[in-house]
Symmetry: C2
Subunit: 413 residues, 2 copies
């Protein structure tokens, strides 16, 4: 008997009507002869509301207690979803992470899944029930309540799909799939029918906020297709799956925009082994997010300019941390390049298809977008540009790579 | 080292300021050299809001899922309370019923406590932490989430106080103690300094809504004093404790009013053994609440009139159930006495102090209050009167027993 995992996000559970709609979708899958596991997020803005309650009490809540607080959101959702399915005359049972046996490490607010028990879920499925699992939450080996990080209900769903060898993991959300660019910025953006795990991972990392990266990693590792689709329609969405020969034919598949960044530039750093390692060890120790890293050398290789991008909100702290480090080294200065964003072109074989980088830079030049930094990998080329040039840069790249001629659906179709 | 259990109800936790206030009270007890266990309810109207969410989905939610839903309210409260205590620079840890090990039977929505594990709570107390326990909730032996019934956070507190051999169980609420009558109806009502478990139990059962009866039963069984007091002031409230010789001097200690009742009258019932048992087995099978029972016989003992009071909302169903039963017996008729309430005088030795009943009936007669039914026990005399006469009857009894001259505080002092 085939098995399907369906995950519903907060906007797909925002009110009673939407919960009934999600329940009907699960029931339909069951009537189609599948075993059904649902993973649900907290309703609507519940998690933000709970964080706001905590914020009224203290600026620095203990992470353990934050996890106790936030996991109530998903617990409410599983109970209501079970009620909705019962109300429609079908059998269902809700399971918290503790009841299911979803074990993580003890890193509160950003725990990693370590194991998932099969016993309870298989017993309930065998009894003919739709099993509803609370996303985002886990327990550690001492029974402490943990969470997997914001947006990680996707990860719960993908991990369950992998463990249960599901046919597919469906992610129901408020967009109807993955687009060649953000349709709010690029109206001609096309919905992709299929996309490889690798390309989707880079798109997620480069600003496409459709899905949680760790969910895609689970899908990739266990080869579970992930179907991203709208909870409001029956239209097919985008299937994220292993790369097939057909996919390779297209080089650039999507373009993304990541806003509100800053670049921290360490100039005149002695280019001796271990300097970069010391910089990023120190930055990591302060929990400052590092996006891309670029380094150039000059003066016959004696000195280096080392730059990294980070969130605008963390830039000032990053500058202070780096200045202290360079003071200790007795060399170099730190500058901030603020008010910037990153545009990226993502596809397969970006380096082997010569001319992609050239096409990209040429298009930006014609659109009079100045490029501050450039970094490339096998499947991504990224440029740091001024924040105000971001949308224009995204549109010109979408045009230059003719992404509106992809074999997909344009928005609204 | 002495130990105190403090329980805070929903109105005492309605916002961040009130949570901070409750946290300060716990910290003060700790600074006084006591070990502190807090039991908290859901904030403000949370439980009603969650029930309303469930009601939007279905009229008949599975009880198991109701318990999964409702227990989130207390889980939010324990996390926030722990944050508030941390913010004040003290150590605290929150525990759900599953983490504490508070085991119940499996009767969802009305489970009974079966055992409480000492290990975790004693470990945390020994580590110098204030322990915050979620009220109202439990788990059964399979790890299913249960609840103890509305208002049962009091019961959690009293059970913990009993288990931990606490000096006192403090119940913080929005009233400042137990009064000789409801001060909203009888302005001269006096706050009692002390009251026995037995009298408090009867007052709670007769309409005084200050505390959950099962909590008082726990206090009585394990001889833990329960201190009912206001969360808004430092004034002493009312201590519920074992009867002492001094208490016995006063016969009538309080008067109560229980509104919105109906009396179901079964007239002309054959007075043969087992009839009453059959009636109440059948009524119980339909989960109809039975308040007081009165039976008289007539016609040389051949027939009986059997009456019981119940909630007005359950009266119609009770009548139907009783009619079917009498039809099967082939004798008797059922009538409803609707729009009635019950006034009670509660104290010790009501039967041995002759004249109390006479004083009561005389006072009601002078106030022109007609009495429908009368029932008495060792510590209660109750009269069913018209709903509209209830407040007047309560005031005239308070006067007749001179309860305003009790050695207590009048309201507002």
């Amino acid at each position: 008997m085939s098995l399907i995992v369906q995950k519903f996000g907060g906007t797909s559970l925002a009110d009673a009507e939407k919960i009934h709609r999600a329940a009907r979708r699960a029931i339909r899958a069951e009537l189609d002869g599948q075993r059904v596991v649902l993973v649900v997020s907290a309703m609507g803005k519940t998690t933000d509301d709970l964080l706001s309650l905590a914020g009224q009490l203290t600026v620095d809540p203990p992470k353990r207690e934050l996890d106790v607080l936030l996991t109530t959101g998903e617990q409410v959702s599983i109970a209501l979803m079970a009620m909705a399915i019962h109300a429609a005359g079908h059998e269902a049972i809700s399971l918290t992470a503790a009841q299911l046996g979803l074990f993580t490490d003890s890193a509160h607010t950003r725990a990693r899944i370590q194991s998932i028990s099969r016993d309870r879920i298989e017993r309930e499925l065998s009894a003919g029930k739709i099993v509803i699992v609370a996303g985002f939450q886990g327990i550690d080996s001492s029974g402490e309540i943990t969470t997997l990080g914001r947006g990680a209900s996707d990860t719960t769903a993908a991990a369950l799909a992998a463990m249960l060898d599901a046919n597919v993991c469906e992610i129901y959300t408020d967009v109807d799939g993955v687009y060649s660019a953000d349709p709010r910025v690029v109206p001609q953006a096309k919905k992709m029918h299929v996309i490889s795990y690798e390309v989707m991972l880079e798109m997620a990392a480069s600003g496409a906020s459709v899905m949680h990266s760790r969910a895609i990693e689970f899908g990739k590792k266990f080869n579970v297709p992930i179907h991203v689709r709208s909870s409001m329609t029956d239209a097919e969405g985008t299937i994220i799956m292993a790369e097939t020969p057909g996919m390779e034919a297209i080089s650039v598949q999507g373009v993304t925009l990541k806003e509100d960044l800053a670049v921290v530039e360490l100039n005149g750093v002695p280019n001796t082994p271990g300097i970069a390692a010391r910089v990023f060890a120190e930055v990591g120790r302060h929990h400052i997010l590092v996006d891309d890293i670029v380094q150039n050398i000059y003066d016959g290789g004696k000195f280096a300019n080392l730059a990294f991008s980070t969130n605008a909100s963390e830039a000032d702290e990053a500058k202070v941390v780096c200045e202290q480090l360079l003071n200790n080294l007795g060399a170099g200065t730190v500058e901030l390049d603020e008010g910037v964003c990153k545009v990226s072109a993502i596809g397969v074989g970006m380096r082997t298809h010569t001319g992609i980088a050239a096409t990209m830079f040429d298009a930006m030049s014609k659109a009079k977008v100045n490029i501050d930094n450039i970094s490339t990998s096998e499947i991504v080329i990224s440029c740091i540009v001024r924040q105000e040039d971001g949308p224009k840069a995204l549109r010109c790249l979408h045009d230059a790579f003719e992404l509106d001629k992809l074999n997909g659906d344009s928005e609204g179709s």
